[in-house]
Amino acid sequence: MPTPFIALDKLDKRYPDHHAVKSIDLDIEAGEFIAIMGPSGCGKSTTLRLIAGLDEPTDGDLRIGGDSMRGVPAFQRNTPMVWQSLALFPFLTVAENVAFPLRMQKVGAAERRKRALEWLDRLGLAGMAERNIAQLSGGQRQRVAIARALVTEPSVLLLDEPLSALDAHLRVRMQTELSRLHRELGITFVYVTHAQSEAFALADRIVIMSEGHIQQVGRPQDVYRAPANAFVAEFMGMNNLIRGEVRGNDEGMLEVGSTLGNFRVPTLTTRPEGSRGDFVIAADRVVLAADMEGPGIAGTVLGLEFVGSTQTVFIEIEGGTEFRVQKQQHEIEALDLVPGRQVKLNWDSRHAWLLPQPGTTH
């Protein structure tokens, strides 16, 4: 197995009042586009800062290209970062901003100007070189920040919520742009975000963090369809979590008993009776029926949320559990789903996803 390009080895970061990163292990391959996701305060930005050397880890090791980065100051790492605030130098012109890292490397004035202009051109900013930062739009500033980070041709680019300050339209355009750059340059991108859409659209692999721990690492579809635990399932948003306990095993299927009834859940291993049998069913896998005599769980429509091509239907089950169900517009019309309507919920047992038992590796 080749050595990973960036290796986090039991990396740990404690602040006086806060344990931000709790002994995490992560291998990032060269050329990979990896997204680190999680709610605010989960340690994702701290992890990025540790990679950049802006913070020193309290414990553990960080290796880039096989070399330990412990004690290597930020300015020697060549791990350029794109900040959420962009952190462009307001006292420098666009071209001077882009040329800044080259100036730090003592590249000659003519050479650094040439290379800065090349990168501005590459990011569609030709002719903007002499402008002040204040004269640029949000999207243009974003591009300057990216050009400045890439001008030294680093082997890794760190991005800390780079698109969160842009409006929706620009965000999608910049996503395409980042995707293109990653493809063309073939370097490693480490991208911190709290936006699922960005992570899913861009990343080869997604790291989900919570309270300083890594909860799951996997391809977007794995994280989405096969969450490693209840946190990931709920963080992904479009999952319904049903807590229950194992009542029996039957040829690759587990019998799970819960307050909502008994369900069959596919499994690869057997579990002893009485152990935990929590599972999730994705919002788009739930089938709704108006016939209240049929099989399934009875529920009442609470409300609908327009998402775009689909709508999210919120359904309350007796006992207070809330279900999210994703449906196409025509299905909603066919069933006449309005708040207060009684419906039956059902799903194909094969679509249920059994959560791994806590403590087992995933």
Partner: protein, 309 residues
């Protein structure tokens, strides 16, 4: 909306239209100028009028120690061509220039330490210690220095124990700069501390992230970020030092005289208010020039860039 409310709105519009009328024809709004009147009055009474009077007096005459209105250019030619005035002018410029350089050179590292290296609690404490001298009596502080620096003072007493001295600490360029820095340094440090505290810390991190070592961050990020504040600290120091009377008087015994000392001497010898006014006006012109240069230095972004290329 009911018809009644529409009518009310229409009549309200008509009622207030007299107020909007003048604005539509292009004259400034009435209210802001009314609000600005006290400031304008204050400026007229306490700044413009004395200034005009100062200029007018330069053309008056003194006969038998009495000031008489006239229009003579004699005061101007006598002062501007006098060697005493010219020497004092050069001297004052040199002294104020030195103070400015020293104040900025000492204030910059001090302000950097306070703004970047101290914990927030210690930073507040440092700022408090800088504010207190600004609002305490300058005279008192100069007297304190006299006690410290005089031939029988604290420093010489200590030096005497080691067998060195006594050194002539008081009454020269050294003590004059000590006095002027007592006046200017706290203000220069405060200006720079507030400017540096406002620097976005991610800019510092970004510079390090892009390959700038910590020592160079000061030159590449901190200094250019507080450029206007440096110009402000420098012009403020120059202004204070240039017009100061207390330090030249008490720290050097008026020798050689600065322009402020010269004004007092001119008034004392034969009530030569007109000639003193000439020196005053000349000083104001110098200060206006220095202020202009300061402005140009702090806002000259485009100019600077063209110059660099």
């Amino acid at each position: 909306m009911t018809a009644a409310s529409v009518t009310t709105r229409a009549s309200a519009l008509r009622r207030w239209s007299w107020l909007q009328g003048p604005r539509m024809t292009g004259s400034p709004a009435v209210l802001p100028s009314v609000l600005g009147l006290p400031v304008l009055l204050w400026q007229a009474v306490f700044f413009a009028a004395p200034l005009v009077f100062l200029v007018v007096v330069t053309f008056w005459q003194v006969k038998a120690f009495r000031l008489e209105p006239a229009f003579v250019l004699d005061n101007w030619s006598r002062i501007l061509f006098s060697a005493t005035f010219q020497r004092a002018l050069v001297h004052t410029f040199a002294v104020a220039g030195t103070t400015t350089l020293l104040a900025v050179a000492l204030a910059f590292p001090a302000a950097y330490t306070i703004a970047f290296r101290l914990s927030p609690r210690r930073r507040d404490l440092a700022v408090a210690f800088l504010v207190v001298p600004v609002f305490s009596s300058y005279m008192l502080r100069i007297y304190a220095w006299q006690i410290v620096l005089s031939p029988e003072g604290m420093i010489n007493a200590l030096l005497g124990l080691t067998g060195i001295g006594p050194l002539p600490l008081l009454g020269g360029a050294f003590s004059l700069q000590i006095g002027l820095l007592t006046l200017t340094l706290p203000i220069a440090v405060l200006i720079l501390v507030f400017a540096m505290a406002g620097i976005d810390r991610t800019l510092v991190e970004a510079a390090e992230n892009l390959g700038c070592r910590r020592a160079r961050v000061i030159m590449h990020v901190v200094a250019p970020s507080v450029r206007p504040a440096i110009a402000l600290a420098a012009t403020t120091s120059f202004l204070l030092a240039f017009g100061d009377y207390i330090s030249p008087l008490f720290m050097t015994g008026s020798k050689p005289p600065t322009l402020s000392i010269l004004i007092v001497d001119t008034v004392k010898s034969g009530s030569q208010w007109p000639r003193a006014s000439v020196i005053g006006v000349a000083m104001l012109v110098m200060l206006a020039l220095v202020l202009g240069i300061g402005q140009w230095l702090s806002s000259g972004r485009a100019t600077r860039r063209e110059g660099a290329r």
